[in-house]
Amino acid sequence: MSAQTGRSNNVVMDSLAQIGHCGLFLLRILASVPRSMRYVRETVRQLWFVGAMSLTIIMTCGLFVGMVLGLQLYHVLAIFGGTSATGSVVALAIYRELGPVVTALLFAGRAGTSITAEIGLMRATDQIAAMEMMAVDPIAYVAAPRFLAGLIAMPLLCCVFCAMGVFGGHLVGVSWLGIDNGTFWSNMTATVDVWQDIVSGVVWKSAAFGAVIALIAVFQGYTTPPTSEGVAYATTRTVVASSIAILALDFVLTAFLM
């Protein structure tokens, strides 16, 4: 129980217990995925909330990240007389690292918290128990669709982020700083590998991040003490835990995918 109130003395044991619970919870979700296929509509609805509703922030941030990268890298590369490489360096930086990580952090803040808060409140107001009583499995109806939505939405959001980032880099590099348009694109297309950088860098990585964020968010919401304090605490913990998990996982995945 101390793991749920978060007031335990032993932080390490607490964290381990949390990770263990989280893992078991993942198994329960995965086991309920076939049953949750009946609730496709619910998954679609969640996809709307976590995916489509996050588009604005993702697109805006992607644009600015691309613009600032273009600006910074242009001036760094100018030292070596390599400004023509701006396009490829912007694209590689976004695809391999910034795209998935920044999208994931934004996603954790935007969608993860709302998932946790929503499920926490559903618990606090007995909606979860009511589903149990109506013979509807809340893992299949509440947890699995949100998990799947996170898993599907993240790669899509990440692709949008990357596209906006490249657009932003082009905007600054070509329209503002005057790199030749053809050079910008040809350098980029010459260095970016579709499998290495886009499929494994953008798509797989962000799918893994999406699964982790959605799992943490659902788990925190589902196990929170049904009080307003508990929900607030769980929401905070979703952001903290997913941010740490994203960056740690990023290192592991990068080491593997490289």
């Binding site: 009946r38 409140l121 559903m122 107001t125 007995d126 909606q127 128990a129 009511a130 149990e132 009583m133 109506m134 013979a135 509807v136 499995d137 109806y141």
Partner: protein, 278 residues
């Protein structure tokens, strides 16, 4: 009369509990509890706060399966059911939560239609007819398009009731159905419980404290204290059986078999007036 009810076999009992013993975090909630809930009647379960009345409902619905003993609902022993069997059983049980527990994402219509959509593949026209019938029964057909946050407490409880009866269950469990209702809403709910019970032939179990309301609606009352049934009978006569439990509970006395003081150590010692051993 004070400790146990004779465990005679009664085929008219829809819910039969035998020897139920539950220990929750070190505290014995039920101690070999025996209880029969008769079919087709309105049964009230009363008792001091903290005696585990809601826990009893959870045992009946299988939300809590940790106790020892037998909980038979319509002949099925709930603790032994598989998850699928339990879900099948629950489809025949309506449960009214204390705070209504309407799904906040959906409007009133969809809330009532929710169990139908989950468990059946009925055509939309049929779902619409069933839902409107149930809403009409609780007098809220006009509120079908409202969202849960637009409802008053009494309305929300009636919507939850409509949802609970949408499958025409054999048993409805009411968890504190009268809490926080104004006298008008309370009487509406009272009337509904009685009408639904009589017209649909449902067995109703309600957990409540409101003596006046229970006298009006219940056919049978169980008084639970210290993990056992301490008194049972007709609500109009149970108060007169003379046991100290009934006298304290129905007389509303502050002290009695249920102590005013929560169990604690010696008062004088706690205040430091008396030197203890430690």
């Amino acid at each position: 009369m004070t400790t146990t009810v004779p465990a005679k076999s009664d085929d008219r009992a829809l819910v039969r509990i035998r020897g139920l013993t539950t220990v929750l975090s070190g505290k014995t909630v039920f101690d070999a509890l025996d209880l029969d809930i008769p079919r087709g009647k309105v049964t009230a379960i009363m008792g001091p706060s903290g005696t585990g009345k809601t826990t009893l409902l959870k045992h009946i619905t299988g939300q809590m399966r940790s106790g020892r003993g037998e909980v038979r609902v319509d002949g099925l022993n709930v603790p032994e059911l598989s998850r699928d069997q339990l879900f099948q059983l629950r489809e025949r049980i309506g449960y009214l939560f204390q705070n209504s527990a309407l799904l906040t994402d959906f409007d009133v219509f969809e809330n009532v239609a929710f169990p139908l959509r989950q468990h059946t593949k009925l055509p939309e026209v049929l779902i619409r007819n069933i839902v409107l019938t149930k809403l009409q029964a609780v007098g809220l057909r006009g509120a079908a398009a409202l969202m849960p946050n637009e409802l008053s407490g009494g309305m929300a409880r009636r919507v939850a009731l409509a949802r609970a009866i949408v499958f025409d269950p054999m048993l409805i469990l009411y968890d504190e159905p009268f809490v926080g209702l104004d006298p008008i809403a309370l009487n509406q709910v009272l009337k509904l419980i009685r009408t639904l019970n009589d017209t649909l032939g449902i067995t109703s179990v309600l957990v409540a404290h409101e003596l006046a309301a229970i006298k009006e609606v219940a056919d049978h009352v169980f008084l639970i204290a210290n993990g056992k049934v301490v008194a049972q009978g007709d609500p109009k006569t149970i108060a007169d059986d003379g046991s100290p439990w009934t006298r304290q509970f129905f007389g509303g006395e502050a002290d009695g078999p249920v102590p005013f003081q929560y169990p604690a150590g010696d008062y004088a010692q706690a205040l430091g007036f008396k030197q203890g051993e430690a």
